[in-house]
């Protein structure tokens, strides 16, 4: 395992549970791990993201919430480099460097991880083989030595145990015949094994019963730390009861229309998203002040 270096430039985020919105401007000027700048993304003729801005620093957990079709999944997918999207304007920076020209595997080797909303079944590829091949690629990129098979197995066993993950699922083909909950847990297990700097969780909570949700949340909270950043994309506030975000952003029609502390999630839970929609005629001034966090 990689030893976690603590980042002394950043305040301990756990101490700021309900950070007031003003604290956004208090954030010290370090290079964000992820910076989304005026991002415009289209799928075919359809504009999905329409000028999205977001800054994420190490040690932070951000929740991006929004109704269906607001562009949440598009956002995580373009950060991970999934093909099929056209970036028409803007940029995505990882540790200050544009990643738009990079393939998904290059991004992963830089430290980006996406937990998929719909994890893919891989017939004939065993979970263990898949994880070992991936970990070897990442370790090589990080300049680390190869793990011996025995070491890897032991390491994996510990990780699986921590996630209440049935060890037999390691011998099975990736996600094949897994329940919805097992698939999602498998994503979090992969995150824990591959140890990225930035984890994007795309609706990892959807379709999970409360027990499965707690297991997933436990995995995410154990992963959380001063040298990690998490962006949690969700439709519902429910998971935020278990994973306290430092920031909550509301994405509607491809733009972030409001940002705040975790209290915003509760507001959304109570009031829904409609009140944040920009009226067609009025200018965006009323929400403009909070629409673009610095």
């Amino acid at each position: 395992m990689t030893p976690r270096s603590s980042n002394h430039n950043r305040p301990e985020p756990a101490s700021v549970r309900f950070r007031p919105e003003t604290s956004v401007s208090v954030a010290p000027k370090t290079v964000p791990i992820l910076e989304v700048r005026d991002l415009h993304v289209a799928v075919g003729e359809n504009e999905i993201l329409d000028g999205m801005n977001l800054s994420v620093h190490l040690g932070e957990v951000h929740a991006v919430m929004g109704p269906n079709g607001s562009g949440k999944s598009t956002f995580t997918n373009v950060v991970a480099g999934r093909p099929g999207y056209t970036i028409t304007k803007g940029d995505i920076l990882f540790e200050g460097e544009s990643i738009l020209g990079m393939f998904p595997d290059e991004r992963a080797r830089k430290g980006i991880f996406l937990a998929l909303q719909y994890p893919v079944e891989l017939p004939g590829i065993r979970n263990r083989e898949f994880l070992r091949t991936a970990l070897e690629a990442l370790r090589e990129a990080r300049g680390e030595t190869k793990l011996a098979v025995r070491e890897f197995n032991k390491f994996l066993e510990e990780k699986a145990k921590a996630m209440d993950f049935d060890p037999d699922l390691m011998k099975r083909n990736v996600n094949e015949g897994f329940s919805g909950g097992e698939k999602k847990r498998n994503e979090i297990l992969q995150m824990s094994v591959l140890d990225p700097k930035l984890a994007l969780l795309d609706e990892t909570d959807s379709g999970l019963d409360i027990d499965a949700l707690q297991v997933v949340a436990k995995g995410v909270n154990e992963f959380r730390g001063p040298d990690k950043a998490i962006v949690l994309v969700t439709h519902y506030q429910r998971i935020l009861n278990y994973i306290k975000p430092d920031y909550v952003h509301v994405l509607i029609d491809g733009r972030i229309v409001r940002s705040g502390g975790s209290g915003l999630a509760q507001e959304l839970e109570a009031q829904g998203y409609e009140w944040l929609r920009e009226p067609a005629e009025e200018s965006a001034e009323s929400v403009g002040a909070t629409a673009r966090p610095s």
Partner: protein, 446 residues
């Protein structure tokens, strides 16, 4: 007709020459050959696709117009070690090698078999005449199909297995075509008669030594008695300039089990008719296939399972991996005849397209003949591959390794059914090397 007069004349001349050369053959066999040749002459090659639905996707005009030569006996150019190097999976098995249709005793070995006989067919016609007479041409009737007719007319030799019990070792039939400047033809014939409760494992391998065009027209008949079990591997590795029109006909007696794995990485233009007859109650046919195509290869597998008796079970699972401009055709038909109650049949064909220009035509049908499924890139198979590639890459695995992992995984569903470990390993390696675009990727973690 696209069949040229020259090509037709060649067959006629060769048939006359063969009959003269083999004038000592028993009358029943001479008659069978005549029947086969007459049928072929009447029907010719199926080049009129409007007339013949079964040949809609496969154009055999190139076979029809080429004048193939019956080769002379080859010199001893191969050693037993060469064969072992080429096909390193048959240690401890009987191995019968045929080069250009001629038996090569110096590089063959037949292990002793109790209560059974493993012979070359020419010898079996003399030594086990009544049995051969009773079975040869009974399952693949000469007057049934042009390629079977032609094989029956011309076959020189092949493998014969009679088993009355468990055969002590698998039998490897090696059909080699050596390198010739002009196109040659061979007609391998294989006959397996598995008696009551017999247990036989047969591997048939087809391989070319050169890279030039030739034609192979093989026929294999397998008769399974009550409770018999036959495991049949068929490995096609011929060069990608060659043509094959082949025929396999297993006939299953009561409570017998026929398991086959067909592996096709070779041939430029191939058609294989696998016709299974469930003739006894409670029989089980388990048919698996994997085809791996590149370049301009065109492989067509037409599989039919005829459930003529009740309580039969059949499982058909074929998979294809297609790259470049290659094309694969799969036709699967399950007939359940009146009275064949409690039949349990399932068939599936899955293709993985690695290129936009590859094409898979899949036409599975269960009693209903209207299912005509066309599968192109972006349809089920292609889309699945794209999703999976992204998934693997998003975990840091490069594209080549991701593709290789997927290909290996995709193939494993079929190759895991290969019960002979060295053969399975060999086929896995062949699959990887058949797709050179994906070679040289990161070594996969075991």
């Amino acid at each position: 007709m696209t069949q040229t007069a020259e090509a037709t004349d060649r067959y006629v001349r060769d048939f006359d020459a063969m009959r003269e050369e083999r004038s000592e053959e028993p009358l029943w066999l001479r008659n069978l050959r005549r029947e086969g040749f007459d049928y072929f002459q009447r029907m010719g090659w199926p080049v009129d696709e409007k007339r013949d639905e079964a040949w809609k996707y496969t154009d055999v005009r190139a076979v029809a117009r080429t004048e193939f030569r019956n080769p002379n006996p080859p010199g001893a150019s191969l050693s037993g070690g060469d064969v072992s190097a080429l096909l390193p999976f048959d240690e401890g098995m009987s191995r019968l090698v045929f080069v250009d249709g001629y038996y090569a005793p110096e590089i063959s070995r037949i292990l002793d078999a109790d209560n059974s006989s493993v012979l070359r067919l020419e010898e079996a016609v003399r030594e086990e005449e009544s049995l051969v007479h009773g079975h040869l041409g009974q399952y693949s009737a000469a007057g049934h199909d042009a390629s079977v007719g032609l094989n029956t007319a011309f076959f020189r030799d092949g493998v014969f297995i009679r088993a009355d019990g468990a055969l002590s070792a698998p039998v490897h039939a090696v059909y080699i075509t050596s390198d010739h400047a002009d196109p040659v033809v061979s007609y391998p014939r294989t006959l397996v008669v598995a008696g009551k409760h017999a247990d036989v494992t047969l591997i048939e391998t087809y391989v070319s030594l050169g890279q030039r065009n030739h034609f192979t027209d093989p026929v294999t008949e397998v008769a399974l008695g009550e409770g018999a079990k036959v495991t049949h591997y068929r490995v096609l590795l011929e060069n990608t300039e060659s043509y094959m029109i082949g025929h396999v006909r297993p006939c299953l007696g009561p409570d017998s089990t026929y398991k086959s794995v067909i592996y096709e990485a070779g041939s430029g233009l191939m058609r294989l008719d696998l016709e299974v007859l469930i003739e006894g109650e409670g029989a089980f046919a388990d048919l698996k296939g994997l085809y791996v195509t590149t370049g301009k290869q065109h492989l067509d597998n037409l599989v039919s399972i005829d459930h003529a008796q009740p309580h039969g079970k059949s499982r058909l699972y074929f998979k294809g991996i297609l790259d470049d401009k290659s094309r694969a055709v799969f036709g699967g038909t399950v007939y359940v005849r009146p009275g064949a109650d409690k039949t349990d049949a399932y068939q599936e064909d899955k293709n993985m397209l690695l290129s936009n220009e590859a094409e898979a035509d899949s036409k599975p049908s269960l009693e209903i003949y209207a299912d005509d499924v066309k599968c192109g890139h972006g349809a089920t198979a292609g889309a699945v591959a794209d999703e999976a590639i992204f998934y693997l890459r998003s975990r840091g695995i490069d594209e080549q390794t991701a593709s290789r992992l997927l290909i290996k995984g995709f193939a494993s569903e079929i190759l895991d059914a290969v019960g002979i470990e060295p053969l399975r390993v060999f086929l896995e390696e062949r699959t990887a090397s058949a797709l050179p675009r994906f070679a040289g990727a990161r070594e996969l973690a075991a």
